[in-house]
C-alpha cells in the first residue's frame, strides 16, 4: 500500500519549534548547565548481601577504577527470566522469555564496555525479578549494576516500600518502567534520588504529564523515544523534550535510523545523551560502534559512553 506523503524533515522540525515556543520554560533553560553539573543520585544506604553466595562479592563493591581511563558503561540491558514464558502477548517474544547475562558479558568484553546496567524483562510483578537482578549483580559486581523494575498497574500501593527495600537493601541503583509512572512511583524516586528509565512505548508525549512536576528526578528516555526506530517522529519528539527539560536524557539503544542519533548529538548538550544497547537482544558491539564511528571530540564521547550515567548515579556505579 502506498502511504500518503508527509511533510518533509524541515517542516516537521518547524512544527516542533511551534510546540516548543508554547511550552518552553525559560527558567529551566537558564539553569540547564548548572543542573547538569550536579549529580542526581544520593544513595546513602548500606547494601545487604542477603542473596549472595559465599564466593560472591557484596553488592556495594564497585570495579576498581583504572587510573586515567574513563569507564565505558552501557546503561540499558536486560537479564533474568520471565515467570510466565509465552503466557501472554507481552511474554511471548524472545526478549520477553529469557535474557542471559553471560551473553552480555561476552559481547561487552569484546566491545570494551566496563560495566552494564541490567534490569528485568517483562513480568507481571517484579519482586522476584528484581531479586534476580540483584543476585546477578552480586555475582559480577565489577561488570553489572542493577535497576529495579515495577508496573504501576499491577503493583500499585506497594511500590514505594518495595523500591526502598530494593535500593537500600538489594543495592539496585535506579528504576526501569514500561508503564506510565504514578505519583507513588515518582515521589519514591524523588525521595530515593534515583533516575527513572521509562520506555513509554512510542509515546514520548506522555512524559509531559509529569516532567514539570518533578524537575529533580533524572529521566532517561530509552531508544531515543522509539525502539528500533519504529517511528522516526518519536525520535524528533524526544530530542525536542530534551531541549526543553535538562533532566531528560536520551539513551541510544537500538536506534536504527542513525541520522537521528547524529541529530541528537549535534543539537543537544552531550551531557544529555547516554550510550545504551538493550543487550542481549541487541548487540552492544554494534551499538557502541554507532557512537564511535561518529568520531566525536574525546570529552564528548567520554560523557556519552559512561560519564553521564556515572554522574546520574552519583558516581556509585
Amino acid at each position: 500500500m502506498l502511504h500518503g506523503f508527509v511533510p518533509n524533515f524541515g517542516e516537521a522540525e518547524n512544527l516542533l519549534d511551534l510546540k516548543e515556543a508554547r511550552t518552553v520554560s525559560r527558567k529551566i533553560e537558564s539553569s540547564r548547565r548548572a543542573f547538569l553539573t550536579n549529580t542526581g543520585a544520593l544513595l546513602t544506604s548500606e547494601v545487604v548481601n542477603r542473596w549472595a553466595s559465599g564466593r560472591q562479592e557484596s553488592v556495594g563493591q564497585t570495579a576498581p577504577r583504572k587510573q586515567g581511563k574513563p569507564r565505558v558503561i552501557d546503561c540499558h540491558a536486560h537479564a533474568g527470566i520471565s515467570r510466565e514464558p509465552g503466557a501472554k502477548e507481552e511474554h511471548s517474544a524472545p526478549w520477553d522469555t529469557a535474557a542471559d547475562p553471560e551473553i552480555i558479558l561476552e559481547h561487552a568484553r569484546e566491545a570494551g564496555i566496563d560495566k552494564t546496567i541490567i534490569f528485568p524483562i517483562n513480568n507481571t510483578t517484579y519482586k522476584e525479578a528484581n531479586e534476580e537482578i540483584s543476585q546477578i549483580c552480586q555475582r559480577y559486581p565489577e561488570r553489572f549494576a542493577g535497576f529495579a523494575r515495577h508496573d504501576a498497574r499491577t503493583e500499585c500501593g506497594k511500590i514505594r516500600s518495595m523500591l526502598i527495600h530494593e535500593i537500600h537493601d538489594l543495592g539496585l541503583r535506579g528504576l526501569k518502567l514500561h508503564t506510565q509512572p504514578n505519583t507513588e512511583i515518582l515521589d519514591a524516586a524523588k525521595e530515593l534520588g534515583i533516575p527513572i528509565l521509562y520506555d513509554s512505548n512510542q509515546h514520548v508525549e506522555l512524559f509531559e504529564e509529569f516532567l514539570s512536576s518533578y524537575p529533580t528526578i533524572n529521566f532517561i528516555i530509552p531508544h531515543m523515544g522509539s525502539d528500533q526506530s519504529e517511528n522516526w517522529r518519536e525520535h524528533l519528539l524526544a530530542i525536542d523534550l530534551a531541549k526543553r527539560y535538562p533532566n531528560v536524557h536520551l539513551d541510544t539503544a537500538a536506534v536504527v535510523l542513525t541520522e537521528y542519533l547524529e541529530k541528537a548529538i549535534k543539537e543537544l548538550p552531550a551531557e544529555q545523551i547516554l550510550f545504551a544497547s538493550d543487550e542481549p537482544e541487541i548487540d552492544c558491539r554494534l551499538e557502541i560502534f554507532k557512537i564511535r564511528v561518529l568520531n566525536l571530540p574525546k570529552e564528548k564521547e567520554e560523557l556519552i559512553l559512561g560519564g553521564n550515567i556515572t554522574r546520574l548515579l552519583g558516581g556509585r556505579v
Binding site: 502506498l2 502511504h3 518533509n8 517474544a93 528500533q228 560502534f289 564511528v293
Partner: protein, 248 residues
C-alpha cells in the same frame, strides 16, 4: 587480487522511504558514495526510493549510474499493480537500453513482472509488506515455486529493523527450502538472527546490503564483520554472490 565489496541494496533519488511511517527524502548520490567509500564498499546496487510510478525515477537512476559507472550498478523499481500492462515493455527498455541490471518489486510481484524478469534473466528484490503478510513465507512460497529460474532477493533477512522476529526464522527457512531465494542483510538489529543465518545457510545465499543512505553503510558492514566469517565466505557475502547473480 582483493575481492570486490558490493552493496546489493542502496537508494538514490527523490521519493518516499520504504519504512513506515514514510518520509519524503532526496537520497543524495554524493552522500551515498562518500559513506560507502568510508565503509570500504567498491560498488553499490542503487535503485529509486518509493514512488507512485517508476518510469522517470528509473531513467534518473540509469543516468546517475552512467556518470558513476565504476561505482554504481542500477536496478529498476516497478509497482506491479499500478504499472500493470506496461511492465514488460518498460523493463525490456530499462535493461537492454538503459543498462539496469535487476528489478525491485514495489508490491507483490505479478506474473507480468516475473515473466519479464525470467526472460531478461535478472534478479528480483522483493520485500513483502509485513502489514499485509505477517511474515515473508506466505508471500514467497508461491512465487519461488512458480518461478524457479528467477533469483529472488529478500532484503532485511525478512524483517526490516528486526521488528517481526519470526520473519527472520521464515526467511532462513525459505532459503533452505528454495535454491532461488537469497537474503539481504541490512537493518538486522537483532544480530542473533544474522548469526543464525550465517551458521545455518550456505554463504552463497547471503548478500550484503546496506539500505543506504537511509541506514549507515559503515554500521551495516561492521555488523557483517562481527560475524567473523572465514575469508572465502566473507568475500562471497560481501560481493561475490551479487556479482554472480548479475552475471558479472
Amino acid at each position: 587480487m582483493k575481492p570486490l565489496v558490493i552493496d546489493s541494496e542502496a537508494q538514490i533519488g527523490v521519493g518516499e522511504t520504504w519504512g513506515s511511517p514514510p518520509r519524503w527524502l532526496d537520497y543524495n548520490v554524493e552522500t551515498l558514495l562518500g559513506r560507502s567509500a568510508e565503509a570500504g564498499i567498491d560498488r553499490s546496487c542503487v535503485m529509486a526510493p518509493r514512488n507512485p510510478l517508476y518510469d522517470l525515477p528509473n531513467k534518473q537512476v540509469a543516468k546517475v549510474c552512467e556518470k558513476y559507472s565504476g561505482r554504481l550498478i542500477g536496478f529498476a523499481v516497478h509497482n506491479p499493480q499500478l504499472e500493470s500492462g506496461h511492465l514488460r515493455q518498460l523493463l525490456l527498455a530499462e535493461v537492454k537500453s538503459l543498462g539496469l541490471k535487476g528489478v525491485r518489486s514495489d508490491g507483490h510481484p505479478s506474473r507480468e513482472l516475473l515473466d519479464a524478469a525470467a526472460e531478461l534473466n535478472i534478479p528480483v528484490i522483493y520485500y513483502p509488506d509485513l502489514e499485509e503478510y505477517p511474515g515473508p513465507a506466505r508471500a514467497y512460497y508461491m512465487i519461488a515455486t512458480a518461478y524457479p529460474s528467477v533469483n529472488f532477493i529478500l532484503p532485511h533477512l525478512g524483517a526490516y529493523r528486526s521488528w517481526q522476529w519470526w520473519a527472520h526464522y521464515e526467511a532462513i527457512d525459505l532459503v533452505k527450502r528454495f535454491p532461488n531465494v537469497y537474503v539481504g542483510t541490512s537493518s538486522v538489529i537483532s544480530r542473533k538472527y544474522l548469526e543464525m543465518a550465517a551458521r545455518e545457510l550456505p554463504p552463497e545465499r547471503i548478500l550484503f546490503g546496506s539500505f543506504a543512505p537511509e541506514l549507515d553503510p559503515r554500521v551495516e558492514i561492521f555488523s557483517l564483520k562481527l560475524l567473523k566469517l572465514p575469508k572465502p565466505s566473507e568475500a562471497l557475502v560481501l560481493g561475490g554472490n551479487i556479482q554472480r547473480l548479475l552475471g558479472q
